[in-house]
């Protein structure tokens, strides 16, 4: 099947496609693909949703798209500042519908590791930590994560450390979209630029692929929105898988 997905566009557009009408969606620190997804959804989809971000922005209309997803530029145009205490508390009391949380590893049950590769006391790599994931993943209604690298070391059968567990619903990579069904991640869509068995070969956990389909092509409006957010291709260049 012909398709003009790039790893970058596949991740950002499929993250954006998780947002549903009327929802309150949130993007956090070190989450540039999620930030771009929320801004893309605002430009490409006709339905209303509320976009909050870690910089304190409420429905921001940023003049420039910052490199960092925690840049105060993401407050520009906000009629209010809804800062760290507010959005975490909103999540804790069940008020965030969709939360994007990054990860280093994700397992087949949709738990994530953002803490350490190797043993905690003798780590191979010390990671930055969850940044609130342990509180947000069990309390948000739905959590979406992504990995720019789809491999058996990122999508694993067993995590080196469980940073967060709970309501993870979706995992997006350059070649796949997994959705949780009956407590396990199942393949929903794959990138038609790769074969289905390549997804299985590059995934460390076992998954159900029944009903999986090639992802619908990027729409003209999604393409236009993505181009408007990254006119010089800088974000795309930073995300070549």
């Amino acid at each position: 099947m012909q398709s003009d997905w790039t790893p970058f566009s596949y991740i950002v557009v499929n993250l954006a496609r998780q947002i549903r009408p009327g929802e309150i969606a949130f993007s956090g620190v070190n989450s540039t693909p999620a930030m771009l997804a929320c801004l893309l959804a605002k430009r490409a989809y006709d339905f209303h949703f509320t976009y909050l971000n870690v910089a304190g922005g409420v429905e921001p209309v940023p003049k420039n798209i910052p490199h960092s997803s925690s840049d105060p530029a993401l407050v520009a145009g906000s009629p209010a500042i809804f800062g760290n205490e507010d959005f975490y508390d909103l999540c804790a009391r069940g008020g965030l519908d969709l939360v994007y949380l990054g990860c280093a590893q994700v397992d087949g049950e949709g738990r994530t590791n953002v803490s350490v590769i190797g043993d905690w006391k003798n780590p191979k790599v010390r990671l930055p930590g969850g940044g609130g994931a342990a509180v947000m993943m069990p309390t948000a209604k739905r959590v979406v994560t992504w990995r720019t690298e789809h491999s058996t070391r990122t999508l694993v059968e067993k995590l080196d450390f469980v940073t967060a567990a709970g309501n993870l619903q979706t995992v997006v990579t350059p070649i796949a979209v997994f959705q949780k069904r009956a407590g396990r991640l199942a393949l929903e869509f794959w990138n038609p630029q790769v074969a289905l068995d390549e997804v299985a070969r590059r995934t460390g956990f076992r998954f159900d692929a029944s009903g999986a389909q090639p992802a619908a092509p990027i729409s003209a409006r999604e393409r236009a929105a993505l181009d408007s957010l990254d006119p010089r291709g800088e974000f795309a260049a930073g995300l070549r898988a």
């Binding site: 910089a55 304190g56 910052p66 490199h67 960092s68 840049d71 105060p72 530029a73 407050v75 500042i81 800062g83 760290n84 205490e85 975490y88 999540c91 804790a92 009391r93 738990r111 803490s115 905690w120 969850g130 609130g132 342990a134 509180v135 947000m136 993943m137 069990p138 309390t139 450390f161 469980v162 940073t163 967060a164 567990a165 709970g166």
Partner: protein, 166 residues
């Protein structure tokens, strides 16, 4: 968020603070966090985080007066619980202003001067970070000091705004 629960416990003057979530995370066992039953009978188990009281909190403000009253514009991030939990509070600020300027809009003052031990006026003191609405993140400077090469840190320190002022 668990860190903030600890800060809130200190700010509230209680030994621990309940926090939502954490269930299923290895962080609980690693940090020795305890889980308690709701004593009011909801049947819910809640993790409780011990109080964290920093010895010193340092925050950067937009404006400060001679009494240490400090105004922060834009998102306050964690400045509020941090300054309430800490034993001592130090302020750096972009500029010194007359007290009357702060009194004209007291709701913009994040920390009252009676809580502040000392303040320093440090223009562009958040560099290479941003200070709303005065300046944005200096991404080239951030990328330069992240380079894994000899002299990167020294070059970064030499480029700091307080150095060029001399």
């Amino acid at each position: 968020m668990t860190l903030v629960a600890g800060l809130r416990a200190a700010a509230y003057g209680v030994p621990f603070q309940p926090v939502a979530g954490v269930h299923g995370s290895d962080l609980a066992a690693l940090n020795g966090w305890q889980k308690i039953k709701d004593p009011y009978g909801s049947g819910k188990d809640v993790y409780v985080i011990p109080a964290i009281s920093p010895d010193v909190a340092v925050i950067h403000a937009n404006e400060v007066d001679e009494h240490g009253n400090a105004r922060v514009l834009g998102s306050p991030f964690w400045d509020h619980p941090l300054t309430r939990a800490a034993k001592r509070v130090l302020v750096t600020a972009e500029r010194l202003v007359p007290s009357a300027a702060l009194a004209a809009q007291p709701e913009l003052t994040l920390v009252p001067g009676f809580m502040v031990e000392a303040a320093a006026v440090v223009p562009r003191g958040a560099w290479p970070g941003s200070m709303h609405p005065l300046y944005e993140v200096d991404y080239p400077a951030v990328e330069a000091y992240l380079r894994d090469e000899d002299g990167a840190l020294e070059a970064h320190l030499a480029a700091a705004p307080e150095q060029s002022k001399k």
